[in-house]
Subunit: 405 residues, 2 copies
């Protein structure tokens, strides 16, 4: 008997009507002859509501207590979904993360899954029940509940699919799948039938937030083939799996964009060894993720170093860097919030040269100035003025023929 793991996000179980709809979809799958494991997130805004309750009590909640609080959201979801399955005549049982044998580390509010012992899940499947598992949570070595942080429910689904050697894993969400680019920017963006793990990772990293990169990484590591599908349509969605030869025929699979970037420059740093290490260890200690880094060529024994980061981290970064600037005797420390990032992604570009030059030419023709460039094997990213992001995406989408199948 084939086994499927189906994951539904919070917006899919936001109220009773939606919960009944999800129950219906789950039962459809069961009737197709599958053993079904369902992973659900907390209903709708419940997680936000709980965070707000905590904020009213204290500004600095202890992470362990935050997890104790937040884990209740998914626990409510699994109970409600099971009730709906029962009401439709389907045998089903809910399991919290700990009950499902999901073990995590002690890094509260952003724990990693360390192990899955799905004995109880398998036993319940053997009783012909649908097993509904709380996403986003596991049991840590102190026997405490730990939550898995952003994208935690996707991670639960992928990891369970790996542990159960599931034949299929489906991530249900409120979009139809993975698109060539953001359909709000390019109306004729096309849904992709399939995409490789690496492309999906680069798209996520470049701000295409269908799924967090960490879940895709786990899927890649354990070879879990999954589909991104819509809760509210029967369309097949996008299959995500390992790269196959024929994928190389498609040079560029998608265009990613991220408007919420900022750029910080440290100007005129006397050229000494260890300068970059000094700067980025200060940022690392402050918990700031840096994206692109550019060091200008030294002229007159002075350097400029620029990097991009999330807009929300700018303040924290500037206070971490002020003492560094002073110690390095740099002339200036400048932040620019008016930038955005675009990227073309595709495994085909490995075997098809000329993608970079085509990208740069397209932007040049549109009179869009490139501020920074970064490349990986299957991605070319550019930082440009934020005002030009939408136009750049539209031009690139056309230039690489993504509107045509």
């Amino acid at each position: 008997m084939k086994l499927v793991v189906m994951k539904f996000g919070g917006s899919s179980v936001a109220n009773a009507e939606k919960i009944r709809h999800v129950a219906g979809r789950v039962i459809e799958k069961k009737k197709q002859g599958f053993q079904v494991v369902v992973v659900v997130s907390a209903p709708g805004d419940m997680t936000d509501d709980l965070i707000e309750m905590a904020a009213k009590v204290t500004r600095n909640p202890a992470p362990r207590e935050m997890d104790m609080l937040l884990a209740t959201g998914e626990q409510a979801s699994i109970a409600l979904l099971c009730m709906s399955l029962h009401a439709k005549g389907q045998a089903a049982i809910s399991l919290t993360g700990p009950q499902a044998g999901i073990f995590a580390d002690t890094d509260h509010t952003r724990a990693r899954i360390t192990q899955i012992q799905p004995k109880k899940v398998l036993a319940e499947l053997a009783k012909r029940r649908i097993v509904v598992v709380a996403g986003f949570q596991g049991l840590n070595p102190n026997s405490d509940i730990a939550t898995l942080g952003r994208g935690g429910s996707d991670l639960t689904a992928i990891a369970l699919a790996a542990a159960l050697k599931a034949d299929l894993c489906e991530i249900y969400t409120d979009v139809e799948g993975v698109y060539t680019t953001d359909p709000r920017v390019v109306p004729d963006a096309r849904k992709l039938e399939e995409i490789s793990y690496d492309e999906m990772l680069e798209l996520a990293g470049a701000g295409a937030q269908v799924m967090q990169g960490r879940s895709v990484e786990v899927a890649k590591k354990y070879g879990v083939v999954f589909a991104v599908r819509s809760t509210f349509s029967q369309a097949p969605g996008t299959r995500v799996h390992k790269e196959v030869r024929q994928m190389e025929d498609v040079v560029v699979s998608g265009i990613a964009l991220d408007r919420k970037q900022a750029k910080i420059s440290i100007v005129d740093i006397p050229d000494r060894p260890g300068v970059a290490a000094r700067i980025f260890s200060a940022l690392g200690k402050a918990g700031i993720n840096v994206d692109m880094i550019i060091q200008s060529e030294a002229s007159d024994k002075k350097n400029d170093i620029s990097f991009t980061l999330s807009e929300g981290d700018v303040k924290k970064a500037l206070s971490a860097l002020r003492p560094v600037k002073k110690a390095l005797e740099a002339k200036d420390l400048v932040a620019n919030n008016n930038v955005g990032k675009i990227a073309v992604v595709g495994v085909g570009m490995r075997s098809h040269p000329g993608v970079a030059s085509k990208m740069f030419q397209t932007l040049a023709d549109a009179k869009i100035n490139i501020q920074m460039i970064s490349t990986s094997e299957i991605k070319i990213s550019c930082v440009i003025s934020r005002d030009h992001v939408d136009q750049a995406v539209r031009e690139l989408h056309k230039a690489f023929g993504l509107d045509k199948k």
Copy 2:
């Protein structure tokens, strides 16, 4: 070091402000040199909200899933209270019922506590932490969460106090303690300084809903002395403990009342053995708790049997009895919803005769007709017309001198 168990109900932790207030009271106690274990209920209306969510999904939620859902309320409370204790600089840790070592049976939504293994609680107390335990829940033999039903958080507190051999157990609520009668009916009702377990049980059974009888029974069985106190005042409340000699000086401790009673009569039953058994086994099978029973003297080989029950059970009782009435060839089956019950309670009445006659005379003087009478060692109950309940309570309160200390 002395150990106290403090229990706070849902209205005491209904919002952030109240949670901070409770945290303050808990810390006061800690500063008095106590080791402190706190038991809390779900915040305010959360349990009702969860029940409503379930009702929107299905009319018949499976009890196991209901427990999975409802247990989240107390879990939210313990996390929020700990956050508040931390914000006030106090070391504290939250434990779910299962984490606190509270074991229950498999009777979901109304489980009994079977055992407490407070190893974790003791270990955390030894670290000088305040331990905050979720009321109303335990782990059952299937490793599922089971809730303890009405009054479950009181029960958790009393049972933990017994298991930990606590020096003190305090039940904080929104009233100042146990009163001689309902202060809404008799404005000069007096708060009792102390009361025996048995009196408390009889008062609860007669509708004085400060606490469920089951918690008092467990306290009596394990000799747990507890106080009923107000969350919002420093008044000492009412101490509940085993009967001591001097209590007998007080003949009557309180007057209980219950307006939500009903009376059912089966009229003109041919006098045969086994009639009563037939009637009350039918009611037992329907899950109906019967309170008082009267069988009239047989005249002309015919009997009447009347009994009282909760108003809410009348419909169910009538459908259970219709076939019995037919089988017994009784003449009539009559329900009367317009009745109420009053009772005088006091351990002193064992050694002071004349309480019953004083009660009946008081009611007679007020021209209140008594429909049924029932007595126990420390209680005399009368069923009267519902319209007369308030007046009867006022007259009896005066007649037994309960307004004077």
